[in-house]
């Protein structure tokens, strides 16, 4: 959003139109706040309950990379919440709007360059993702039977990772939403979303994958790995994690690639 970018004609900055789009999305989100919270909280809630409350009570508690499982899990679950919000906030509605209702039309016709309409979607999705990640935090304090050793060790890294990861999730959502037909969304969940979650170093730090060497290299293609590792760096520095510059660089690269695909797909859907 650049206030100096004045559009020609009636002298209204692009930023105003962009803000209008964002306000519309926030209005819709406010209306569906209850379902939004349920959707975001359910998965981490159950994960924490089963693996960090039930398991220790039935004698299955373990440690990974020298830390208790709850501590390893917290950043990972935040990463998953970020990613799922990106998909739910952008991919599902966009796929509907393109394939069925065409209601995106009015927003495409606003006095903004069309890529900016796509970028607004990514930004709105990022807002949802950040909220989702923050909603996971209190859960981790109340549920686990074993204490979670988390504190903000590195504020700049936390904020950088949170923002970049949320934008990457939005860009992934945009890529899926503008390239996948509504009937195929379920399939995309099975073949893309679920694998990248399970192989996203959510349930284990990347460093311990050294025991499965080939996998340790393959997962480097997965943007969720960097989300999890980045949050680990910032929140649970006691758990082994990747070096920060590598994480930031990989998230930036993912954002560029997915954002590029997403905007291209969006343009293809609205301009013929």
């Amino acid at each position: 959003m650049n206030n100096t970018l004045m559009s020609p004609g009636k002298n209204v900055p692009y930023a105003t139109a962009f803000a209008g789009l964002l306000q519309r999305d926030l209005r819709v989100m406010r209306r569906e706040l209850g379902p939004f919270i349920v959707r975001v909280v359910m998965q981490p809630l159950l994960f924490l309950f089963v693996f960090t409350y039930v398991f220790p009570h039935i004698g299955q508690a373990g440690t990974v990379g020298g830390a208790n499982f709850a501590t390893v899990l917290l950043p990972g679950l935040m990463a998953v919440a970020i990613m799922f919000s990106g998909i739910a906030a952008v991919a599902l509605p966009l796929s509907q709007e393109f394939g069925v209702t065409r209601e995106i039309d009015d927003r495409v016709m606003c006095p903004l360059p069309v890529p900016a309409v796509a970028i607004e979607k990514i930004c709105f999705s990022a807002i949802q993702s950040i909220l989702a990640a923050l909603l996971v935090l209190p859960l981790a304090y109340f549920i686990p039977a074993t204490p979670v050793h988390a504190h903000v060790a590195n504020w700049p890294m936390l904020i950088t990772t949170l923002i970049l990861a949320s934008l990457v999730a939005g860009a992934l959502g945009l890529t899926i939403g503008s390239n996948v037909k509504p009937q195929q969304i379920g399939l995309v969940f099975s073949i893309v979303v679920i694998p990248i979650t399970f192989l996203g170093c959510v349930y284990y730090p990347w460093a311990v994958l050294s025991h499965v060497r080939w996998l340790q290299f393959v997962v480097l293609l997965n943007p969720i790995v960097y989300m999890s590792e980045g949050l680990r760096t910032a929140l649970t520095p006691g758990v082994p994690h990747m070096p920060s510059p590598m994480i930031v660089a990989a998230l930036l690269l993912s954002l560029a690639v997915l954002g590029g695909f997403g905007i291209k797909g969006f343009l293809r859907r609205v301009i013929s």
Partner: protein, 314 residues
């Protein structure tokens, strides 16, 4: 002039086929008129509107809206454009009021201005009791009315309506015509596409007849009907329609008949008035077995038939 279309073409090309949807259209629309693009489905009307409204990129040619080139400066051009597409694009997640309110916000209205404008529009379009409803709770005719009010909310110079009466019941269609006429009173230029000749005839100041992506004629409906020599069209269906040379000769000698063309199963006769003519035609066609005779008063339909040899409707 408010809309200027110059030598516009659009070719859709893929591996299997090449379709020329718009084939060198030139036209201009003046400030304040209701302008109709009339033609059968697939004539290139929607593609032309798509290009005018920045949603389709032309293969060649130029369109400017209020002096702004739509290809070079689409975001700026959109300020002057209001669009009601063929399908319902109301925002299902927002109420009717919010549909109008946020539309205004996209166009840079402040919160207060947007609220005021939305309320004014709700009143003007007799929707004030529906402000809190969601689009799905409204009938098709009402949703159409909301779409039109939303399209003009940012006070565009020109409103594009693509097949506005498609899917409307006759009563809603007449209400929609009244709405469009009222917009002209406000000075909004309206460009609409239609394949209903009554709609073009009833509503438009000028009509462009389009077929296969080409502009065939452009004038006021009344002038199209008189100047194209399209008078009354008499369709004569015959049992024996193979060799009608003799009959055509007889008919041609009748002074009221302007011209005759063959159509499947009979003849199509263009005549000036019908007084006393029908008995003569029936008499002349006695040996051919007259199955049916139908008379179409001069209309845009007959103009279209005259221009293309085909009927407007599929």
């Amino acid at each position: 002039m408010i809309v200027e279309i110059a030598d516009l073409t659009k070719v859709y090309q893929d591996k299997h086929q090449r379709i020329t949807a718009v084939d060198g259209i030139d036209l201009t629309v003046e400030q304040g008129e209701i302008f109709g693009l009339l033609g059968p489905n697939g004539a290139g009307k929607t593609t032309t509107i798509g290009i005018c409204t920045t949603r389709t990129l032309p293969t060649s040619g130029r369109v400017s809206i209020a002096g702004i080139d739509v290809v070079a400066r689409p975001a700026a051009a959109r300020r002057n454009i209001g669009v009601v597409p063929q399908f319902n694009t109301l925002d299902r997640s927002l109420t009717i009021f919010e549909n109008l309110y946020y539309h205004c916000k996209y166009f840079g209205f402040s919160g207060v201005e947007a609220r005021e404008r939305a309320n004014t529009l709700l009143k003007q379009f007799l929707l004030h009791e529906r402000g809190e409803s969601f689009p799905s709770q409204l009938s098709g005719g009402l949703q159409q009315r909301v779409q039109i009010s939303r399209a003009i909310a940012h006070r565009p110079a020109v409103l594009f309506l693509d097949e506005p009466s498609a899917g409307l019941d006759p009563q809603s269609r007449i209400a929609m015509w009244d709405t469009v006429r009222a917009l002209r009173q406000e000075g909004i230029t309206v460009v609409l596409t239609t394949h209903y000749m009554e709609e073009a005839d009833e509503l438009c100041d000028r009509v462009a007849i389009i077929d296969h992506g080409k502009l065939l004629a452009l004038d006021a409906p009344q002038r199209l009907k008189t100047t194209l020599g399209a008078d009354t069209v008499i369709e004569l269906e015959l049992r024996q329609s193979e060799d009608t040379r003799l009959l055509v000769g007889k008919l041609n000698s009748m002074p009221q008949i302007k011209s005759i063309e063959a159509m499947p199963g009979g003849l199509r006769i263009f005549a000036h008035g019908t007084d006393g003519l029908l008995p003569e035609i029936v008499q002349a066609a006695l040996g051919y077995g007259v199955r049916d005779i139908s008379i179409n008063e001069p209309s845009l339909e007959t103009v279209f038939i005259r221009l293309t040899g085909r009927e407007l409707r599929e």
